[in-house]
Amino acid sequence: MDINATLLGQMLVFGILIWFSWKFIWPPLTKAIEDRQKKIAEGLAAAERGQTELQSAHGEAQVIVNAARDQAKKIVDQAHKREVEIVDEARSTAMEEGKRIVDSSRQDAAQEKSRARDELRKDVASLAVAGASRLLQREIDPKAHADLIEQLAREIEGSVAMRSTRTPGRCSTCSPRTAASTTCPRSPLISTS
């Protein structure tokens, strides 16, 4: 153990090292460490915040999804109801319409029928008139209708006889062939006389 001036030199060296370490090494390193700690803490806090936000967003999304589901269900129900309504309405409308069409066509048919009947009646009348006139023209030839006239005459005779014996409402001579010479209340062709 040889203590000498080396001690003073070493104290100086040690002092310089301490000073250097104190001024230039320690502060930047601790600052870097502390800044990084702060940064990590911030990062962790941000991550946690993100987590909670995510969770609340999940909840909100669930709520929205549920609401949407409810609404969709409601809409579907409504649509079903509306569908039934529309079908009913359409059915009733169609029935009404069908009834109306049937009615109108029935009316038309009736009209047509009566018109046709009228027309037919007119035609028949004219035909009867025409036929009658023909027949009447032909009658000019007595020979051709001699037997017919004779028969007619006989029938008239018979009918007169019958009329006197039977009820007057019945016409035994109602026949187109004998219509011209007789009056018959049931035949429209010659009911005019």
């Binding site: 000498n4 080396t6 001690l7 104290m11 090292l17 460490i33 990084r36």
Partner: protein, 275 residues
């Protein structure tokens, strides 16, 4: 550590050990300097603080480099240690502790260099004596412990004020009776001075003894070239014991560096406490 390499050097064991324990000295009497001690400690100081300084200059808040991560680990370790003991502002004490720890550790670590290597390298430059472990020189350890004493005194004055500290020197621990002033003061003085002495002697003793044990182990294999059975045993003894002691020494150098740092912090913390 192989003494065999040294075969051409010293004639016997005593000479070998004496040679290894001699400093490269300049000057006479007190005003002399151990050039090897100063050179090695300055070199190691520059190396350690330089390495730490590069990390500190390039320190980023983002992803740290591996070296920065290591330095930050050391810094954190020391900062935590200081924080646990010293409760005032540690912006000075913590870097002081860092300096002590890394510097003393590296100076101690020179003990692990092959024993004869530094001497051989020095011999290339025509230097005969070169002791490579600065902490095995009491000058270094006392220089450090006295500096620590100054720091302790600084904290005493800072925490209690000049009057308060001087008052405490005379009144603690026995009481403020004037009769007890002298005993109090003497006791406090002994307590104060025992701190640097114990600090310095502990480190110096450990390193000096460690170095000496390495030398003795190295001497075991000295006679290997005589090619006798005994010399063969000696050689294997040197290898085995050298390995064991070196591994054990890794623990010692770290532990001694840590103890020096820790005690410095503890003494500073005690200095700030009121009695």
């Amino acid at each position: 550590m192989a003494a065999a390499e040294h075969a051409a050097g010293p004639a016997n064991s005593t000479e070998y050990i004496t040679h290894h324990l001699t400093h490269l000295k300049v000057g006479e009497g007190f005003w002399s300097f151990h050039v090897d001690t100063i050179f090695m400690s300055v070199l190691l100081g520059i190396v350690t603080l330089g390495l730490f300084y590069t990390a500190s200059r390039r320190a980023t808040v983002g992803v740290p480099s591996k070296w920065q991560a290591f330095v930050e680990m050391v810094v954190e370790f020391i900062d935590t240690t200081v924080k646990e003991v010293f409760h005032l502002d540690r912006s000075f004490l913590a870097p002081l502790a860092l300096t002590i720890f890394v510097w003393v550790f590296l100076m101690n670590a020179m003990d692990l260099l092959p024993l004869d290597l530094p001497g051989k390298v020095a011999a290339l430059f025509g230097i005969n004596y070169w002791r490579v472990v600065p902490t095995a020189d009491a000058n270094t350890t006392f220089a450090m412990s006295l500096t620590v004493l100054l720091v302790v005194l600084f904290y005493s004055f800072k925490a209690k004020g000049a009057g308060g500290y001087i008052h405490e020197l005379f009144t603690a621990p026995f009481g403020s009776n004037p009769v007890l002033w002298i005993p109090n003061f003497v006791l406090n003085l002994v307590e104060l001075l025992s701190k640097p002495v114990s600090l310095a002697m502990r480190l110096f003793g450990n390193m000096y003894a460690g170095e000496l044990v390495f030398m003795l182990i190295a001497l075991l294999g000295a006679g290997v070239f005589t090619l006798t059975v005994g010399s063969a045993f000696g050689f294997f003894g040197q290898v085995a014991m050298g390995a064991v002691w070196a591994i054990f020494h890794i623990l010692i150098i770290t532990l001694q560096a840590f103890i020096f740092m820790m005690l410095t912090v503890v003494y500073s913390a005690m200095a700030t406490e009121h009695h």
